[in-house]
Symmetry: C3
Subunit: 347 residues, 3 copies
């Protein structure tokens, strides 16, 4: 029983089962059956494979590095503070070319502040008072600008802080800031495919970059953007938002089919205003304060405070790359065939 049984078991491993079928000739059921099959095959080929590129492995997390450079200059001629000139070293914050940056479009200069006693701004809720008891000495004003001295002056607490406060100064809109240019360098990398590219067009023309201006139809790959154009493309006017500021998103979208080769992988720019959901009643201005500190001849500090409103730019890079890969192809074929199989079983 030993050898021959073992041989039989071994050979039987190479048998295979085949099912018995009845061939049924029923045209109505048959047509329905074939149509369902065709729909499924169409769905598999058309939707899963052609439209959604089900045969590609997809990388959605792009590594991106953005460097920006703003150019342009604007002057203010104020009766209070005289002539002043604002260059990129002043109106771009931070100055060193980040992807998120702020361009001042409306500035208020409060020169010659010294540490002294004066009234708190009446826009600060905690700074309001009816009598001296509302202003306990030594306590800081919540969300305010100084330390309470214990006195109540005409409805607001007296504070010890940098005086005079900013209330009395006029602010100046930098209307010509719409002519500033923003040069955006973007380097991307899809780590899964070890693919990297930049948004700067490779050209032999030495004068292309210094003089071009981004335009969706004429210069779609020029990386230099006029500030006013960006605002206009978001559907707003520069002069409307220069006063209170805004947040603008510059979206760079890389949707790359790497099966077509590197040269077909282009950035597409779009521009959106980010702060529209903000409620009208809420604090919608985009401002911050900074100071320049000086010392006088006797070594005492004084400072110039700047309150700047402006446009906050966020360069956001969104990328997706697809490349043929065997795994998603098989998974998609597998589940597609499984659906086909289900149809066969049911019919």
């Amino acid at each position: 029983m030993g050898m021959s049984t073992f041989k039989n078991i071994f050979l039987s491993a190479f048998n295979y089962k085949t099912e018995k079928y009845d061939i049924v000739e029923n045209n109505k059921v048959g047509i329905l059956y074939r149509v369902t099959q065709l729909c499924l095959i169409g769905y598999l080929i058309g939707w899963v494979f052609i439209t959604n590129k089900g045969y590609q492995a997809v990388e959605e997390s792009v590594q991106s590095s953005v460097i920006t450079k703003v150019k342009g200059v604007v002057s203010i001629n104020s009766s209070d503070t005289g002539f002043s000139l604002w260059g990129p070293e002043d109106y771009v914050v931070p100055a060193h070319g980040e992807a998120n940056f702020f361009i001042a479009t409306n500035v208020k200069e409060i020169p010659n502040q010294t540490l002294d006693n004066c009234a708190e701004s009446d826009t600060v809720p905690d700074g309001r008072c009816r009598d001296d008891a509302d202003c306990p000495r030594g306590e800081a004003v919540r969300a305010g600008h100084g330390i309470k001295t214990g006195r109540c002056l005409k409805g607001t607490c007296e504070i010890h802080g940098w005086c005079p406060d900013e209330g009395s100064q006029k602010s100046h809109v930098l209307g010509k800031a719409e002519n500033f240019t923003i040069y955006i360098k973007n380097f991307i990398r899809f780590p899964r495919f070890s693919f990297s590219k930049s948004n700067i067009r490779e050209t032999q023309d030495k004068n292309y970059l210094p003089t071009c201006n981004y335009d969706e139809s004429v210069h779609p790959y020029c990386p230099i953007f006029r500030l006013g154009d960006i605002i206009r493309k978001t559907g707003h006017r520069f002069q409307d938002i220069a006063q209170a500021g805004a947040a603008i998103g510059i979206l760079i979208n890389w949707d790359c089919n790497l099966d077509l080769g590197s040269s077909q992988c282009h950035p597409r720019y779009s521009f959106i205003r980010l702060d529209l959901n903000t409620n009208v009643n809420s604090i919608t201005t985009f401002n911050f304060r900074y100071a320049r500190y000086y010392k006088n001849a006797t070594g005492h500090d004084y400072r110039t405070l700047f309150k700047v409103y402006g446009i906050r730019f966020h360069v956001m890079v969104h990328g997706k790359a697809g490349k043929f890969s065997i795994i998603p192809t098989l998974v998609n074929i597998g589940s597609g065939l499984a659906l086909l199989g289900v149809v066969s079983m049911k019919s």
Copy 2:
């Protein structure tokens, strides 16, 4: 043979195969078979579809833009450097409202530094010496503060640099910094679904935003956070970490089921301390130095150096949105049915 054969082939395309089955009445195997089927259907409906929303396309890469604004003021009364006032323009770095920002909670001021010769700090390994030969003239101290002059002074090299060095000054903890408020504006966008929203509650109440304070149960959608509250929610006390600083993550989580509509898409805030894994023996303080430069009457530079310890905040936005889509639905049904089919074949 031409026409009729062709007709037969054409017609036979509408035939379909049906398998021959035996109906076996065996209750034990039958119950096992149905129970397995029910488990699989339960798994498919309950786990894949209801719990994991297998019928939705999911977007996990949210585009986010964060703007922060810190308010509050604190004073230092030092015997060395007199009265000084720290406002947001001084203690927030960078000043312009980034998602990653630093709030100084412990500051050391070294006024009136000039370029001169003095001893290197003894905490710098490369600055220690036994004799003059350890301090080669003209060489910079590795990770140090100046250029070696060639002399060894009581165990540390003499350097040419900004003197006096910071060692002798006391630092001042800004204890009242826990009352500072942080206003966080967050705008998000799910590009796949063209959906955008902000974290600022839409309300008609003009006084809501200026006066509200985030509280998990009472004001879960108020975007203004008290610094001390944030620290407390991470399980620490402000006074414990103000001295050496810390890194705090403010997580904003948008887990949005867009099938339910935009108004059901809310941010959820959570707060974690990020630097706990740091080894106790390693450098765990969070500090940096910056300087304010002045010129005296003769045009020579002097400066005030600030060494500030503080809390580094990282607003991190994590988002996920799901919306019904036909592809994942079919893939999940497909592989579910395939599993069912496998069970049928086996039984």
Copy 3:
């Protein structure tokens, strides 16, 4: 008919169908059939499960927080501007330890600028002129440095701005900057698995961190990097890029199999130059300007302008964590078995 029919239907739910098979003994077809099956099982186990870890849920969006600290000092001895010392508070921008930071390696100092009239730089296209009509009074030079006064001086417009302009000054390469050290603290978190870790090695040796230097083979987990070493690892030489600057990516990759436990989850560092795709003819330098403002005894502003070229570092964290999960396991088994089923049906 009531009770017994109902009973029959109920019982028949526990019947099961079994197919009728013919066992065919055909070794050629049989061998092909088994080989195909073996290939598919091999693909399923080897590729899907072992190589691609198809049994794991994968989290690809890592939450990361990066803090950097640069140390080192360098001196400039210029015939124009005398001796000056550059410490981290001067050459690192921003100073407070961001993941994206700039280290100045080539600096030009233009001291004692005042608001005055002088010629525009001849590198600005819009500043060139043939006669006064090319320089309309009061108009800002596009991408320039001042406001046109209406006069044409030797080919370039006269401007009112900060004078003298930067053209005449020499720049100084900070050659010893290659000895600067960069300490990178990285805290990561995979929110899906509630897993967090830092890149700082847990050690009992108090002197490890202050003295170690990253080296791929000797100290792979030391988080302190010498600037020159980083550049060398990108395949370039520090002295070649110090003049014009560059953009360097420091990639930290966390590829964690959390089934193996936390201690097996390590960062891997790699270094790439990001700006290589830039065309040779385009603006490839990495520079920006900033100014220090002073007031003279009469209260007038003057300033020192710095134009700094340097290396822009981007610490980019890329993470992926996998952990056993039932869903992907079943989906992969399902579609694998579906493929197997298809083979069975065909044969």
